[in-house]
Amino acid sequence: MALYSEKVMDHFLHPRNVGVIEDADGVGEVGNAKCGDIMKMYLKIDNDVITDVKFETFGCGSAIASSSMATEMIKGKPVSEARELTNKAVAEALDGLPDYKMHCSVLAEEAIKSALEDYEKKK
């Protein structure tokens, strides 16, 4: 038995959408270094559609995998849909996370919400 599902390991070892968007329309950062997890999401939004998304994460394997999966789930989606993304959906898409790692998926949901809020503010 491995610690994580194959999906988690795949997204951890080959994270999608890693990086920074310099002229992002929305940026959100959640978590704190004290707890060992920080996620930062950058969104490029055109006509209320997320055309590009990038992330940076300081954290454990499941935090990196959750960020990666969450970016995949919202890329190309309308803002209204991205707003509905739940941590559960992220965790399920990863074929589950250990109980004590569920907070990583929560961070991913919060990071996206925070970036969307930033976008609304800037609009």
Partner: protein, 394 residues
């Protein structure tokens, strides 16, 4: 595969495996049985006791076999607490970075009205003998300080602390789980009243250990139900495990000089090269340290992802990050030496053995450098540090 987590557990030595298997096949008798099969198992048991006792400078009757280091720690501390309590002494001195087998037992005693003083271990991870002396009171029942720390490998001034305890007539226990088989230990010369050991840390089997308690210390039972171990630890003895432990310890101690020379040189190479990583720091004193232990903090990254990526490269190591413990706090050891949370999450412990080759050492160095750089590449903290938005701690 490069196994660099020997502080977690070790690979059993061939001699210990052979001993164990042959005993399991042939000496399956119960040492408490009177017929020959039982009595020959008893002989095996007593031979192991003599061997273990001889190695640490104790008498056979001062050795009690246990299920491992944790049980030995529990029994030693509970024993000293009860002895003290009977004389109205309810104060215990320990250190902030003991193993949880010690700290949790002390917590339990605290709830029963004992007062616990946890000494500072300073930035170098070393207890100061003079601070032990200052902390000892009229009502101090026990001083318990680990021989070598399990995470950062720092070796404590046990002999000096022991001498102070002798002078002040206070019982002195040491959790020597990481030290025995790795450092020379003699309970008489080192002024030790009680000592805990665990077999699987020196290439013996898991689930076996022992407690040394100086003659005259009446052990308090944790397990009731039989006359085994002079009535102090009930349960049919794990004869194959105990005998294999004695073999493993004998081997380790006979080879101690070679081991130290060989492993320490590799440790030093690892420390020297890993130190080249910018904004990293060695945890624990450079000199007073187990020959096998390397422990670093890297700023801007988190330990679990570091371990997983090293595992992908075939390297097994350990970290004091919160994520590896299932709690929100990083290792209490790293916090005790003054590492702040942000940095403590990014720790790496490598604990090597004689099986670690020079080539392995170079692979580890290269892999650690690569992985740290890779993780920093998409760490928002690292970005803030590099851009000057946040100040570097290391």
């Amino acid at each position: 595969m490069i196994y660099a987590d020997n502080a977690a557990t070790t690979k059993m030595s061939t001699a210990a495996i052979d001993k164990m298997v042959s005993l399991m096949r042939e000496q399956y008798g119960n040492p408490s049985s009177l017929y020959r099969l039982g009595q020959s198992a008893k002989e095996v048991l007593e031979e192991a006791r003599e061997k273990v006792a001889g190695i640490i400078g104790a008498e056979p009757r001062e050795i009690t076999f246990t299920s491992g280091g944790s049980e030995a720690d529990n029994q030693a501390i509970i024993t000293a607490a009860k002895i003290g309590e009977a004389k109205g002494k309810k104060h215990i001195i320990s250190s902030a970075f003991e193993h949880h087998a010690v700290l949790h037992t002390l917590k339990k005693l605290e709830k029963e009205g004992f007062e616990i003083t946890l000494l500072d271990v300073h930035e170098d991870g070393l207890v100061r003998p003079e601070e032990v002396e200052q902390a000892i009171r009229e009502d101090t029942a026990l001083v318990t300080i680990m021989f070598a720390n399990n995470e950062i490998g720092t070796i404590q001034p046990i002999r000096e602390i022991g001498a102070i305890c002798r002078k002040k007539q206070v019982l002195f226990h040491t959790d020597a789980v990481q030290a025995i088989g790795h450092l020379p230990i003699n309970v008489v010369e080192d002024n030790i009243d009680m000592l805990s050991a665990s077999s699987h840390k020196f290439h013996g089997p898991k689930g076996v250990g022992f407690l040394y308690a100086k003659k005259g210390i009446r052990l308090v039972n944790l397990i009731e139900g039989g006359a085994q171990e002079r009535g102090k630890r009930a349960g049919t003895e794990n004869v194959p495990g105990i005998a294999a432990m004695a073999v493993a310890l004998e081997e380790a101690v006979a080879n101690l000089d070679n081991y130290t020379k060989n492993v320490q040189a590799k440790r030093d190479r690892l420390i020297e090269k890993i130190s080249e990583i910018p904004h990293s720091a060695l945890n624990g004193d450079r000199e007073h340290r187990l020959p096998s232990n390397v422990n670093f903090c890297f700023e801007g990254i988190e330990g679990e992802s570091l371990l997983l990526l090293l595992d992908e490269k075939g390297i097994q190591a350990s970290s004091g990050s919160a994520c590896t413990s299932g709690s929100l706090d990083p290792s209490h050891v790293l916090l005790a030496i003054g590492r702040v949370h942000d940095v403590a999450h990014g720790s790496l412990r490598l604990s090597i053995s004689e099986e670690t080759t020079d080539e392995d050492v170079e692979t580890i160095i290269k892999s650690v450098k690569e992985v740290v750089e890779y993780l920093r590449g998409f760490s928002p903290i690292w970005r803030d540090l590099v851009s000057g938005k946040k100040a570097f701690i290391l």
